[in-house]
């Protein structure tokens, strides 16, 4: 069982950071909605508020790690230009997708949207974490502040969902390959 360094870092970008952010989202939304719902039976304790703030800061950090690792580690491998004369495009995912009309829109629509829209998530989550941390229990009172916080949190989820879904499909049709091989386990032949 082996994996290349590029495979490993792509998995870290998509599953380690991006998917973990998506998984964390449901918990954050449930708590933000619960504490801000009209007629909520109980107000969260100070300790509960601190935990929520830490949780949201963790999510914002994950969102930033996802976009920076994607843009500055994985994306350069994806858009690498093959040297003249190379006909096997397996290690040049962008060129591989663009080489056929049946796959080119995965790049022209999928990657082009994913690479930009994903950046809305960390900006939105940073704001959500900041406002929640600063106002703590008071965030339950002003309806419009609450609406903005919940709305931007949902927008962060949608942006990450778009990026994650296209990322999964792109990795299916034109995976990032290459790099040093790491042998994880050796079986019997």
């Amino acid at each position: 069982m082996e994996i290349s360094t590029r495979d490993l870092l792509t998995v870290l970008h998509g599953m380690g950071f991006g998917a973990l952010f998506m998984l964390a989202f449901s918990g954050a939304m449930a708590e933000l909605y619960r504490m801000s719902a009209v007629g909520a039976p109980t107000q969260p304790s100070s300790r509960g508020q601190t935990l929520l703030a830490c949780y949201l800061i963790g999510m914002a950090v994950l969102a930033w790690l996802t976009v920076f690792s994607g843009a500055y580690i994985v994306y350069p491998w994806y858009r690498a230009v093959p040297p003249a004369g190379v006909t096997d495009l397996a290690e040049y995912p962008r060129r591989l997708l663009l080489s056929s009309g049946r796959t080119s829109e995965w790049h022209n629509v999928g990657m082009e949207w994913k690479e930009h829209v994903s950046w809305l998530a960390p900006i939105a989550m940073t704001m959500v974490a900041y406002v929640t941390l600063k106002y703590r229990r008071a965030i339950t009172r002003p309806r419009r502040m609450r609406t903005a916080v919940l709305g931007f949190a949902v927008a962060a989820f949608i942006a990450t969902g778009i990026a994650g879904a296209f990322g999964a499909f792109l990795n299916k049709y034109a995976p990032v390959r290459g790099g040093a091989v790491i042998i994880l386990m050796e079986g019997e032949t």
């Binding site: 994306y75 419009r144 502040m145 709305g151």
Partner: protein, 120 residues
């Protein structure tokens, strides 16, 4: 936009905090998201802008789009925070502006919508 001045050095209870810092953060987030959209569109529509935004060649135009958008977002946040940190701000207009800019961010990063605007 109506605002109310709060005194500085008030109580520590967050219930007494003016909403100005939240309004600044929310509107700045909208501005940051809108900037991602506008810069993505500009980089796609104009080759010269695209080249200017290519500040790190392995990542291409995306490097400039996102770096400039982050700077715009943080500067907007800093300026708005300094203006509104002790004020109560009417949040209705802030929310409309922030969500409109967020929508701009989604639409102007969507390639078919970019193509539609460029008549492609």
């Amino acid at each position: 936009m109506s605002t109310t001045q709060y005194g500085r050095g008030g109580g520590t209870d967050e219930e007494a905090l003016p909403n100005g810092p939240a309004a600044a953060a929310i509107l700045a987030a909208g501005i940051g998201c809108g900037a991602v959209g506008v810069l993505s569109f500009a980089g796609d529509a104009s080759d010269s802008i695209g080249r200017m935004l290519n500040i790190y060649n392995p990542t291409g135009t995306l490097s400039g789009v996102t770096t400039v958008a982050i700077i715009v977002w943080l500067v907007a946040w800093l300026v708005l925070h300094r203006m509104w940190r002790t004020r109560a701000i009417a949040m209705g207009g802030i929310n409309v502006a922030a969500f409109t800019l967020l929508l701009v961010g989604f639409l102007l990063t969507f390639p078919p919508f970019m193509d539609l605007l460029q008549g492609k």
